[in-house]
C-alpha cells in the first residue's frame, strides 16, 4: 500500500465514537416535518375514540344513557364499564400492585375520570358523541388533602377494596390508606435526635406537578381478525412491558401482540404507565374490527394521565454545634390519588426516596412513607427523575439550608463539611444504598470557584444593606444545591416492574460490507439514542457511527427490555450495547486470527482493527473481518457476525453535581429573575458532550418550571385547577435564562464504559437550587422555608408576611 496508514488517533476520530460531539442522525427528519409520531399514523378505515369524563371529584354513577350519542352520524359505539365487565377489563392492574378503573364502575373518584368511550368515524363525530352521553351522578363528599383523607371520619374512597386490610405493600391502617413503607434505623435515629446539640425541623411540600411533554399520550390499536394479531402504536416509554401487560390482561398470546413506539414527542415519565385510553382503543378495535386511534387533548393529559410528586415531608435533622450532621428523620405523607398507579419498581412503593441522605455522610437515618388515596388523578410517575429521587433530593437540600440557618453557617460551608469524602467510596448510606463512586469535594470546589461564591455572598451583603437603607426594592438570593442521583434501575435481584426484571438488552448484526444495525430494548423520546448508542458501538467494534443504525421501539424486532425512564438507558442498555459489541469483537478476533494465520492471543485490538502484536503492519480491519464472516468457511466458526447481550447491572449508578443559582427578587411584585445558573454535572464517562449539554439545558428548564410555577392544584370540591396551558406553567424562551454548564468526570467503576446517565440530573439538582435561591433572598429576615412553586403571588405573599410592604 502506498498510502500511509492513518494514525490510530485519526482513525478513532473518524469513527465518531465515545466523546465526540456528533451531530444527531434524528434531526434530518424532524427539521423537515417528517417525524412519525403516533397522531401522524393514518390507517385505512381508522376510527377515533374519545372519552366521556367525570365533571365531579367523587360521585356515584346512577345511570348512563347512550342513546342520543349513538344517534349521532358517525358514532359507532359507546363503551362503558358494563360492557367491559364481561371481559373482566373494567379494572386493570397498575404498576404499583393496585387496580385502576378503565372506565368508572359505579362511581367516579376524580374529576375527568374516564366514564365512557365513544367510537366514531372521525374525531369531530366522536366529540359530538361525547357531548350527548348523559350520565346521572349523585355527588359524594370529596377529599383532596392527604392528611384529611387519613382522618377517622374521612369519606371512604375505594369501595372496591374496602374490606382489604392488606395491600400490595403490607397492612392498611385506614380505609384510605395504601401502605406504610420505611427504611433505616428508627431507634438509633431517635437517639441521635434526642442527644443532638442542634435539631432543625421543617415541613416541606413538593407540590403535585405533571411532566407535560409537548406531545400528549395516545395510541392506534389495530386488531387483525384474520391472523389474530394485535398491533398497537403508541406513546410508550416501555413497549415490551406494555406488550406483556396487554397479553396478561387480554389473554391474547404475547407473540400475537406487537407494540410499536414510533417517534415520541417527549415523555419525562408521563408515558411509562398504562392508561385507560390504551385499553379502550384495543377493546374498540377488537369489537369493531377496525383500527382505533385515541389521542388525549392537553386538558385530559394534565388532569388524568400521570402526575408527579405530591409528597408532604416532615423532616428533622440533627447536628453538632459546629455543623457535623448526626442524624436525619423523615416522614412522608404521599398523596397517590384515586388509584395507586405509581410507576416504581415493585419492591419500592416510595421509589428510591431513601436516597434522601443525599450527598452527605450521615451516620443514622430513618424514613417512613404513608401512601394515601384522595379524590385526585392517579399516577405518581417520575417526572424527569429516577423514582422519587427528586423528592428525596429536594428534601435533604432544603433541610441542609434550614439547618444552616439554625447554625448560622453558610449553606455551602455546611455542605462541604458533610459531603461524603472521595476515599469513602464505595459508600454505604445509612438507608442502605451503596454509592458506587464520587468525588464530591472536587466538584463543589470547582463550582464555588467558577461562580466566585465568596464574591457573590459579599455582593449579597451589600444588597441587603442597600435594601435596609431603602435604596433598592430587590433582594438577591444565592441557592446552592449538591445532589446525588440514583439511576439505572436496576439490578434484577431487587428491581422489577410487575415481576419483570429491570435488565436491558442490545442485539447487533454486523453486515458483510462493514455496517451494522443495533436493536435495543429502550426507546428514545428525544434523548438521541440513534446518535449516542451508535457512538458507544463505534468505539467498541471499530465501525464508524455513521454506518451503524440504531433501532428501538418495535417489540417484534427489538430484544426484550424495560424501556426508557429513570435515566436507565445509558446505565443499562448502554452497558448492554457495549457488552454485545465486545462479543462481536471476540468473534472478530477469532476470524482475524484465521485470516492472518496467527493465534488469537497474538492479536491486539486497535481502534478499528486487530493487528499482530509487535507487527502492526499485519492487521485486519473490522470491515474486512465482517466480510470474511460472511464469505469464508472458517473451521470451527459459524458464519455471520451477530451478538446479543442482556445486561443485568450489578448496581445503580450515582451521577452527582453541584449547582449554584443567583436570583433577584422584586419584593413589591414577587417577580423573581434568574440572573445566573451554574450547573456542574458528573455523569461519569461522557458519550456525546453536545447531547449531554442539551439534556442539562432541558432538565434545568423543567426544574425552573417546577420550582417557579408548576402546580396541579385542586379546590375543595375536587375541581382540578389549571389543567391547561393557560394556567400550567411552561416557561417560554423569555423566562428561561442562559445556562452555564460544567463538568467533572468520575467514571462508574461497574459500568462497562463508566457512564452513569445524565438526563434527569438537572431536574433533580435544579429544583433545589432554584428554591434555595428564592428562600435565601429572604433568609436574613428570618425565612427558613416557603412552599413551592415560588410564583409571583407566593413570593409576594412571603414579602407581605415578612412586613416588607409596610
Amino acid at each position: 500500500m502506498n498510502e500511509q496508514t492513518p494514525l490510530a488517533s485519526e482513525r478513532a476520530e473518524k469513527l465518531e465514537g465515545l466523546g465526540c460531539a456528533r451531530k444527531r442522525v434524528e434531526d434530518a427528519r424532524f427539521t423537515q416535518g417528517k417525524g412519525n409520531y403516533v397522531d401522524d399514523i393514518k390507517l385505512p378505515g381508522m376510527l377515533f375514540g374519545d372519552f366521556v369524563r367525570s365533571p365531579y371529584g367523587h360521585a356515584r354513577i346512577k345511570g348512563i344513557d347512550k342513546e342520543a350519542a349513538l344517534a349521532v352520524p358517525g358514532v359507532l359505539a359507546v363503551i362503558t364499564a358494563e360492557d367491559l365487565i364481561p371481559l373482566n377489563l373494567h379494572y386493570m392492574p397498575t404498576l404499583a400492585g393496585d387496580v385502576q378503573a378503565v372506565l368508572a364502575h359505579e362511581k367516579v373518584l376524580f374529576q375527568n375520570q374516564e366514564v365512557a368511550f365513544v367510537v366514531a368515524t372521525d374525531r369531530y363525530a366522536a366529540a359530538d358523541g361525547v357531548e350527548l352521553v348523559e350520565v346521572d351522578y349523585e355527588e359524594l363528599p370529596v377529599v383532596v388533602d392527604a392528611a384529611k383523607a387519613m382522618e377517622a371520619d374521612a369519606p371512604l374512597l375505594r369501595e372496591d377494596i374496602k374490606d382489604k386490610s392488606e395491600g400490595a405493600h403490607g397492612p392498611r391502617k385506614h380505609h384510605n390508606h395504601i401502605f406504610y413503607w420505611d427504611a433505616g434505623d428508627a431507634e438509633a435515629t431517635k437517639a441521635a435526635l434526642s442527644s443532638a446539640e442542634v435539631v432543625a425541623e421543617e415541613f416541606i411540600t413538593y407540590q403535585r406537578v405533571h411532566p407535560c411533554p409537548l406531545e400528549t399520550c395516545g395510541c392506534v390499536a389495530s386488531m387483525d381478525k384474520i391472523n389474530g394479531k394485535l398491533t398497537v402504536w403508541g406513546t410508550f416509554q416501555a413497549p415490551h412491558a406494555v406488550r406483556t401487560v396487554a397479553s396478561l390482561i387480554s389473554n391474547i398470546p404475547e407473540h400475537n401482540i406487537r407494540i410499536i413506539s414510533p417517534d415520541i414527542g417527549g415523555g419525562f415519565g408521563n408515558k411509562v404507565g398504562v392508561y385507560p385510553g390504551y385499553i379502550c382503543a384495543i377493546v374498540a378495535s377488537i369489537v369493531t374490527g377496525q383500527p382505533v386511534k385515541w389521542i388525549e387533548d392537553r386538558i385530559e393529559n394534565l388532569s388524568s394521565t400521570a402526575f408527579a410528586r405530591d409528597y408532604h415531608m416532615t423532616g428533622k435533622i440533627a447536628a453538632t454545634k459546629d455543623g457535623r450532621i448526626t442524624g436525619l428523620w423523615c416522614h412522608v405523607l404521599a398523596d397517590h390519588g384515586a388509584f395507586d398507579a405509581c410507576a416504581d419498581p415493585t419492591k419500592f412503593p416510595a421509589g428510591f426516596f431513601h436516597i434522601c441522605t443525599g450527598s452527605y455522610d450521615i451516620p443514622v437515618a430513618y424514613v417512613g412513607v404513608d401512601g394515601v388515596y384522595t379524590n385526585k388523578a392517579p399516577g405518581g410517575v417520575a417526572y424527569r427523575c429516577s423514582f422519587r429521587v427528586t423528592e428525596g433530593s429536594y428534601f435533604i437540600e432544603r433541610m441542609i439550608d434550614v439547618l444552616a440557618r439554625k447554625l448560622e453557617m453558610d449553606p455551602a460551608e455546611l455542605r462541604v463539611k458533610n459531603l461524603i469524602r472521595k476515599e469513602q467510596f464505595p459508600y454505604t448510606s445509612a438507608l442502605g444504598w451503596e454509592y458506587d463512586s464520587g468525588d464530591y469535594h472536587t466538584a463543589m470546589q470547582k463550582a464555588m470557584e467558577s461562580v466566585d461564591y465568596r464574591a457573590l455572598r459579599q455582593e449579597q451583603a451589600a444588597n441587603r444593606a442597600a435594601f435596609a437603607a431603602g435604596e433598592t426594592r430587590s433582594l438577591m438570593g444565592v441557592g446552592v444545591a449538591f445532589f446525588t442521583e440514583i439511576v439505572g434501575a436496576g439490578p434484577v435481584k431487587n428491581c422489577d416492574i410487575l415481576g419483570l426484571g429491570m435488565f436491558d438488552s442490545c442485539e447487533i448484526r454486523v453486515h458483510p460490507t462493514g455496517s451494522a444495525i443495533a436493536r435495543l430494548g429502550t426507546i428514545s423520546q428525544g434523548q438521541g439514542h440513534a446518535t449516542t448508542f451508535a457512538q458507544i458501538l463505534a468505539s467498541e467494534i471499530g465501525l464508524p457511527a455513521d454506518k451503524i443504525t440504531v433501532e428501538e421501539g418495535d417489540t417484534d424486532t427489538a430484544p426484550y427490555g424495560l424501556g426508557t425512564y429513570g435515566s436507565r438507558s445509558t446505565p443499562v442498555a448502554g452497558a448492554a450495547t457495549a457488552m454485545a459489541g465486545r462479543k462481536i469483537r471476540a468473534k472478530a478476533q477469532m476470524i482475524a486470527a484465521y485470516l492472518l494465520e496467527v493465534h488469537d492471543d497474538d492479536l491486539e485490538w486497535e481502534v478499528d482493527r486487530f493487528q499482530v502484536k509487535g507487527n502492526p503492519e499485519k492487521f485486519k480491519t473490522m470491515a474486512e473481518i465482517a466480510f470474511a464472516a460472511y464469505n469464508q468457511a472458517i473451521p470451527g466458526i459459524e458464519p455471520g457476525l451477530e451478538a446479543v447481550s442482556y445486561y443485568d447491572p450489578p448496581n445503580m449508578t450515582y451521577p452527582f453535581g453541584a449547582y449554584i443559582c443567583v436570583v433577584d427578587v422584586d419584593v413589591d411584585t414577587g417577580v423573581t429573575e434568574v440572573r445566573r445558573f451554574y450547573a456542574l454535572d458528573d455523569c461519569g464517562t461522557r458519550i456525546n458532550p453536545m447531547v449531554i449539554e442539551g439534556q442539562v439545558h432541558g432538565g434545568l428548564t423543567e426544574a425552573l418550571a417546577i420550582a417557579m410555577g408548576q402546580e396541579i392544584a385542586y379546590d375543595e370540591i375536587g375541581n382540578v385547577k389549571g389543567a391547561s396551558l393557560m394556567d400550567f406553567f411552561l416557561p417560554t424562551a423569555v423566562e428561561t435564562p442562559n445556562w452555564e454548564t460544567d463538568h467533572t468526570v468520575t467514571p462508574s467503576p461497574h459500568h462497562p464504559i463508566g457512564a452513569k446517565g445524565v438526563g434527569e440530573s438537572p431536574n433533580v439538582g435544579g429544583v433545589s437550587a432554584f428554591s434555595n435561591a428564592v428562600i435565601d433572598a429572604f433568609a436574613h429576615l428570618g425565612l427558613t422555608h416557603s412552599q413551592m412553586p415560588h410564583d409571583h403571588w407566593r413570593v409576594w405573599t412571603v414579602a407581605e408576611q415578612l412586613g416588607l410592604h409596610d
Binding site: K23, F30, Y37, D39, L214, D263, F268, L700, V734, T736
Partner: protein, 164 residues
C-alpha cells in the same frame, strides 16, 4: 355536518379539499392534506407546535378554521426547504446547534423562526427570545434554539455578500 370545498395554496401548490366549516386548519392540513409536520400540543393556542405561515404571518393553525384560509397562501414545515431538497438555513442550523431533541416543537419553531427572520433579519438574542415566545419547547431549554436562529440569521444575511 355538511362539508364545503376549500381551495388554497399550500407550500406553493394549489389544493382543494372538502371540510366541515368547523374543521380546524391544523386538522385540515394534517388529515385531509396529510401534512403531518405541524403538530398539536395544547388545543388552546399556547404551545405553537401547530404554527404555520399564513399569508405572511405566523399563525397557530389550531386557532383558525380551515375555511378561514380560503384563498390563502399557507406554508408549513414541509414547504420550508427548496423544492430541490436543499435545506433552509434554519433547518441546517437547528441540526448544527442541537436546537431540537424530541422534535415535536421543531416544525412549529422553525416555521415561526422562518417568519421572524423575514420580519427582522438581524435580531438580537432578546428579539429572538421574544419572537419565539409563542412556541414552547419542553426539551432544549431554548438556549440552542436561540443559537441556531442566530446562526441562521447570519447565514442568510451573509449570502448576498458572498454572491457579490
Amino acid at each position: 355536518m355538511s362539508k364545503q370545498t376549500i381551495s388554497l395554496t399550500v407550500n406553493g401548490s394549489q389544493v382543494e379539499a372538502a371540510a366541515e366549516p368547523r374543521t380546524l386548519l391544523i386538522h385540515f392540513l394534517r388529515e385531509q392534506l396529510s401534512l403531518t409536520g405541524p403538530h398539536i400540543g395544547c388545543d388552546t393556542g399556547h404551545c405553537g407546535a401547530c404554527t404555520v405561515d399564513l399569508d405572511g404571518q405566523s399563525v397557530k393553525s389550531c386557532m383558525v378554521f380551515a375555511i378561514q384560509a380560503e384563498g390563502a397562501e399557507v406554508t408549513t414545515i414541509e414547504g420550508i426547504a427548496q423544492p430541490d431538497g436543499t435545506l433552509h438555513a434554519l433547518q441546517e442550523a437547528f441540526r448544527q446547534h442541537h436546537g431540537l431533541q424530541c422534535g415535536y416543537c421543531t416544525p412549529g419553531m422553525i416555521t415561526r423562526a422562518y417568519r421572524l427572520l423575514q420580519e427582522n433579519p438581524d435580531p438580537s438574542e432578546s428579539d429572538i427570545r421574544y419572537g419565539i415566545s409563542g412556541n414552547l419547547c419542553r426539551c432544549t431549554g431554548y438556549q440552542n434554539i436561540v443559537k441556531a436562529i442566530q446562526a441562521a440569521a447570519q447565514a442568510l444575511t451573509s449570502v448576498p455578500e458572498a454572491a457579490e
